[in-house]
Amino acid sequence: MYLAVILFALGLIGLLTRRNLIFTLMSVEVMLNASGLAFVAGSYQWGRPDGQVMFLFILAMAAAEVSVGLALFLQYHRRAPALDSDHASEMKG
């Protein structure tokens, strides 16, 4: 459980400090993984499979999120030279 908290904190730190979009997405992955770990730890604590089912859902969501996010990055990379979220603030709809 503490491990989940520590991993989540690390992911959050990464999300806040890194500017590269790839690293941002990786930090989001770490945070999702940490929350999944918390679910599994709860499932272990109470001896029920519900938490593990939740982890499967988190897994599916992470897969969808990563695919869309990476597609966005590719599209963004064709327009801007650098994958930097500071540049992205100049985007005009």
């Binding site: 491990l3 990786m26 272990y44 499979p49 593990q52 499967l56 969808a64 990563v66 990476l70 966005l72």
Partner: protein, 196 residues
């Protein structure tokens, strides 16, 4: 068992810490994979072997490979050979492989020592998970399939290059553009042609 848990937890935290501080994206990905492996070992230890397998297959297998593909697609440039020679240095892969070897040793230890019945720990079998998944959580399964489907379509739509027809189309006059085609597609191809 407890020692194994804390050790793999330490590996996970260490690898994640290194992963978010690397400058090179692929190094960070390697460390992230090690971190995911460590979390999979933790899952195995706390009685969820099915989820450990899922974590390996989907996270470390599929999602990380997706990351790797994108990073490699984006990094194709003039410094490719330079990066390649950088890769062959031992200190680049020594630490991740060292941590991963540690996890393998730990997993062997756990696998050989958990042959005997280990206390009152409840090991969740895939059958239990499946029963829970398609019993009370059937709606959630449907929602997850919706999400994956929309993710697939969205990733395809966002990630494709503008097709030749659309480029010609957006190069045409404004009057022609107003006549037909969906607004979304036109806006996207418009922007692409401007950037190019």
């Amino acid at each position: 068992m407890l020692i194994a848990f804390y050790m793999s937890a330490a590996v996970a935290v260490l690898a994640t810490m290194v992963a978010i501080t690397r400058r090179h994206a692929i190094h960070a990905l390697l460390y992230l994979i090690v971190s995911l492996l460590a979390v999979a070992v933790v899952f195995y230890i706390i009685g969820a072997p099915f989820l450990a397998a899922m974590e390996l297959i989907i996270y470390a297998g599929a999602i990380m490979v997706l990351f790797l593909f994108v990073v490699m697609m984006l990094n194709i440039g003039e410094n490719a050979t330079e990066v390649e020679s950088l890769w062959l240095k031992p200190q680049v892969w020594a630490w991740p492989s060292g941590l991963a070897t540690f996890l393998v040793i730990e997993l062997m230890y756990v696998a050989f020592h958990s042959a005997r019945p280990s206390g009152q720990m409840h090991v969740t079998t895939p059958k239990e998970i499946g029963i829970a998944l398609f019993g009370p959580y059937a709606l959630g399964v449907e929602l997850a399939s919706f999400l994956l489907m929309s993710g697939l379509v969205g990733a395809y739509h966002v990630g494709r290059r503008a097709s030749r027809e659309e480029e010609q189309y957006s190069a045409g006059t404004d009057g022609r553009r107003v006549v037909s085609g969906s607004n979304l597609v036109r806006a996207g191809s418009d922007r692409t042609s401007h950037a190019a």
